[in-house]
Symmetry: D2
Subunit: 361 residues, 4 copies
């Protein structure tokens, strides 16, 4: 398969460039009979949308989704669902200056090398604009997962540059523009981001995603393990440079007696594993964490070369995030949703006759 599809049974194929006519996706394999309306999708798109505070990018896209197929009288038909989002605010003039430069830290150089041609406007296909299509598809998956299994998926910014959340208040996440779960740190965050904007720089972030209510038994070892597919899906998000499940890199220094999650009669005593054992969900919360690099689209000039290989200096103006990690939260949630639903269907295909107790552990 060419690389623009994800999933084996719930398959999402995205298309579209930052400055093309539209972005969108086709969702193939959605179970029939699910009530579906644009109103199920738009809120997640709005959460992801730029232009929501002075701290994120200034590009103002409405990101209004249209459902072109696959839904009849308000219910999915089991046929492909095509979602379309027209690009409305493209401002091509912002990019003509850098048409002949390779912006360091961006994919300009590699796309040009690979394809011999690239749509340089706004990063073309490599732009994170494409992730809007993923979020739209993820909304469908989330709805089905919630209705059918009671699965809930929530993400938050655990660390923004040097500033960590010290405790998790789930209600706080939706109350500030940073998806940050610790209200006491918000003023510090705002000051820090303001200073970055003034300096023309950016910073990285760590985003956590938790999935609750995941039934035990999901995952297709040995290669399509649930944790491996989650890692794949999360690493496919622009700017991600690391993925952890459960205790992640903290495992390196743990002993076996410390690490293993002992089992009691009705539950596990801990969740260092992060929700999977041997690549299959255990019924515990899925705990994933990703590292996002700082965006390279900053005002501080940097050294690069042009398309002819000559030295050049680059600085970007226009509409950029000082911290792309913030907007990654709904994208990461969507990717986890896509993987979980795909695996729920795969597990059902092969193992529907295996008696499963109600979700106790």
């Amino acid at each position: 398969m060419s690389g623009n599809s994800i999933g084996k049974l719930f398959v999402v194929t995205t298309f579209g460039e930052s400055h093309g006519m539209a972005i969108g996706c086709v969702v193939d394999g959605c179970p029939p009979g699910l009530q579906l309306d644009k109103a199920d999708i738009q809120p997640d798109l709005d959460r992801r949308r730029p232009g929501q505070s002075r701290f994120t990018t200034a590009r103002s896209e409405d990101d209004k989704v249209e459902i072109l197929s696959g839904v009849f009288e308000g219910r999915t038909t089991g046929t492909p669902i095509a979602l379309l989002i027209r690009n409305t605010d493209q401002r091509s003039r912002d990019y003509s200056r850098i048409k002949n430069l390779f912006r360091p830290g961006h994919a300009d150089f590699t796309y040009q090398r690979k394809y011999g041609i690239r749509d340089y406007r706004g990063g073309g296909r490599s732009s994170s604009r494409e992730t809007a299509a993923r979020v739209a598809a993820g909304a469908i998956a989330r709805k089905y997962l919630k209705q059918r299994f009671g699965v809930q998926i929530a993400g938050y910014v655990a660390k923004l540059g040097p500033i960590s959340a010290d405790h998790i208040d789930w209600d706080e996440i939706g109350r500030n523009p940073f998806f940050f779960p610790d209200a006491s740190k918000i003023p510090e965050l705002e000051r820090y981001l303001d200073s970055l904007r003034i300096a023309g720089d950016s910073v990285g972030a760590r985003v956590n995603v938790v999935a609750r209510g995941v039934p035990a038994g999901l995952g297709e070892p040995v290669f399509d393990r649930l944790d491996a597919d989650i890692a794949h899906a999360l690493m496919s998000i622009n700017a991600v440079r690391g993925v952890e499940l459960g205790d992640g890199f903290a495992c390196v220094e743990q002993t076996g007696s410390q690490h293993r999650d002992e089992i009691e009669q009705t539950s596990f005593r801990s969740n260092r594993a992060g929700g999977t054992l041997g690549g299959i969900s255990s019924g515990q919360d899925i705990l994933a964490s990703i590292a996002l690099k700082p965006t390279s689209s900053i005002r501080i000039p940097g050294k690069t070369i042009d398309v002819d290989g000559k030295p050049a200096t680059i600085e970007t103006y226009g509409r950029h995030d000082p911290c792309v990690g913030i907007r990654a939260v709904p994208i990461a949630e969507a990717m986890v949703a896509l993987v979980l639903l795909d695996h729920a269907l795969r597990d059902r295909a092969q193992n529907a006759e295996v008696p499963r107790p109600p979700q106790a552990m």
Copy 2:
């Protein structure tokens, strides 16, 4: 696809349980004309093999590979290559005691839940014995990558529990039984592992993999990005709990001006990205790092339940590693090789007509 295949064009399907008759794999899509002999595969299997020092497991398998198909007069034919490794030292009696228990930290519980049946001997399919088949397949990929592209892949233990390698001596890696690149730390390592064996415990590790000579242009955005596929492949290795590319989680606190790899005329000035931009290789070294959890097969008793849900205590005897991370080195190298070759073929399929300069950067 069921989850026992990896790759889209260079497809490896593994089979086999720890205590079954044999393990093996089918490699479908190997280019024809490659000289191939068991002697190309056996060394990597020997590197992985247990029983090579007092510090690793005592199970003594010869792991002799047979080539059943796909090779004629010493060259690959382009048809599927089946590799077989007979199990010779299975000692089922070691596991009958734990037949009715779910060993915490292992996949017993999840396999039983998923399939309703499990081969409890040695972990069955969930055992890391299965990785011998991956290493065998990886040897084929490595040979082709080396001959055709000059790609070299090397891994090492960067950190074993609390003990870090302070510098990398590539020649040292093959001289000690730990794949450890810092000779000055070897005595400390040996003492530490001895103490773990006496205590009946285990510890985690960090393993790094470096791939050199990777041509620019590999990777299939937006989902099958090279970094995402590498993350998937590495996370599919038993005991892996985290994956980083380039600076990984260190990116969280980096600013954009620090992180981006500026481009000079003939090369990049740094490699924080870890070898990919926008999910496509840049020609720089691919730098990946994984976290391996400590094995849960330890002699220290732990709390668990039996198959009827009653409380029980577990302690395992027999042949186990105090640090599985050591043996993960050749497995991680093999997985990276499989991904790189698969992507080399995918890139060639679509972009063979794009003029590519010789590998300069």
Copy 3:
């Protein structure tokens, strides 16, 4: 994968129902650098379009294609190409009468059984309207195949009901509305189709497709043989009930001495095989032939049941073809193009280093 994608490297995913907002497709894996414009696609859509003579359906769709992505400054970028065709003439009122009936010979019954829900307007997803999206994608494949390999694909109606073409005049095919290659039979054809319309009945057809200039070496045995994939692609067209390669069912009575295509120095002496040997193209013309059943949407009443299982009579009015086989010609050509290009890329992936003589045989 859910079943709405075809191809492994040149992957086409279609979406859309007969009476939904739009139909379309995403083409993923098109090589970059191909000049592409709507004008490359529209002619094939026009050939397929209904309403072109009194002998085909009266539904008048413009079938104007829009390119939403994957093309920049007139050339393909290697990223997904989304094609959209808005439905403009849907006339839902034609179908409300049959909302609760299962039209015999149609997919109403099976879609309802499978999904528990169906868009009954015009057959929904099962309508042959969906094939417009395939023809659009096929036009891209045809252009690339022609430019890169000199491949030419042409189809024609070989038999319409009882009326056979006695000789093939390639220039005649485009001159009449039946894709019929024998001018001497046209008056007879017209009279016959008029009589069917008056009787309110329909008839089947045989369509042949010839592909010239196909390089030797395409096909991925043992399952993805070129002939098997062509059979799959053609059988996926609505109304197809049989597929033959080369001499097809005439082989049953042939002896080996009659059937085999002997090889002379520069060519084969015959082409009973139809262009493949062992599932791989030989360089000879690919000769495929399909049988299309008569449409079941006719005015003659038929016995059926309603959605509650009660007996009912059905007759359909509105806009229907007396012979769907006529319109299958451009669809069959498109399907063959998709398969050939997918295989050209797959062959290139694995075997690009095998020296290939120029296309002599």
Copy 4:
């Protein structure tokens, strides 16, 4: 995917050449808990095995299957099942004469062209010996289909050269060595085949396959329609040149009023469709028919070229079938079984919540 796997959820990957060490397959995705033993597989292999009468090939292979993995205590575990069949009677000397020739009608020429290398002994990978692995995998699928759904699959030779079966006696099929259902024609068949052997020639055949008890709802439109996937699977069998579903090519001359299968309260009135509507099973018998070409391995000399392009004459001696169609019967049954099970699992994955009435129609 490289082309040696078939299926999306019940995936079979075969390997092995005619004169290699072994042939075999890996079956990935078998539901767990199925009782499975070699005795479930061997009978179908014996039905396919050469050397069972003076009318089929003289190569005497035992075709003893070994199960290497995926079964524990007599039940499938849900993990990959590897099946191995050692080659025991290879007689390489039969083929050294033709090492440098391209046998007309065989895949020698195309394999050499595609891969630049071929195992010339017995046709290597292109030999129908490979189909033993398919039959072995098919036996597993058949068992599951029978137990879970009550599906029965049976094939027979409908026509051998000029000799047709005039009526179908299901019990007769297993009583003669030709899978022929009309006892009255057996003496004529024997005389005809004897005459072919004496003449050193061969003839084609038509084989029918019927699948009963197939639940309605199987098939994944629009591309992975059940009929399209059956056509693909059957056309992938060596020597197949045509596939028909239902009335097949007879549809060409049928009118709509003749063709459509009207629906009565409890059943369909006919089955011209052959068991599917819109690519989805209707609950009616699946009726497929294939045309097999006569083998080109005959004693009558033929014109060809050698590997250097010089004219040559070829005649083959040794162990060949005068009618390969006879042995295609169990292979065709196996292929239909693989497709039906794969589709049963795919349908279950997406549509398990759709209420399905008991199999009435």
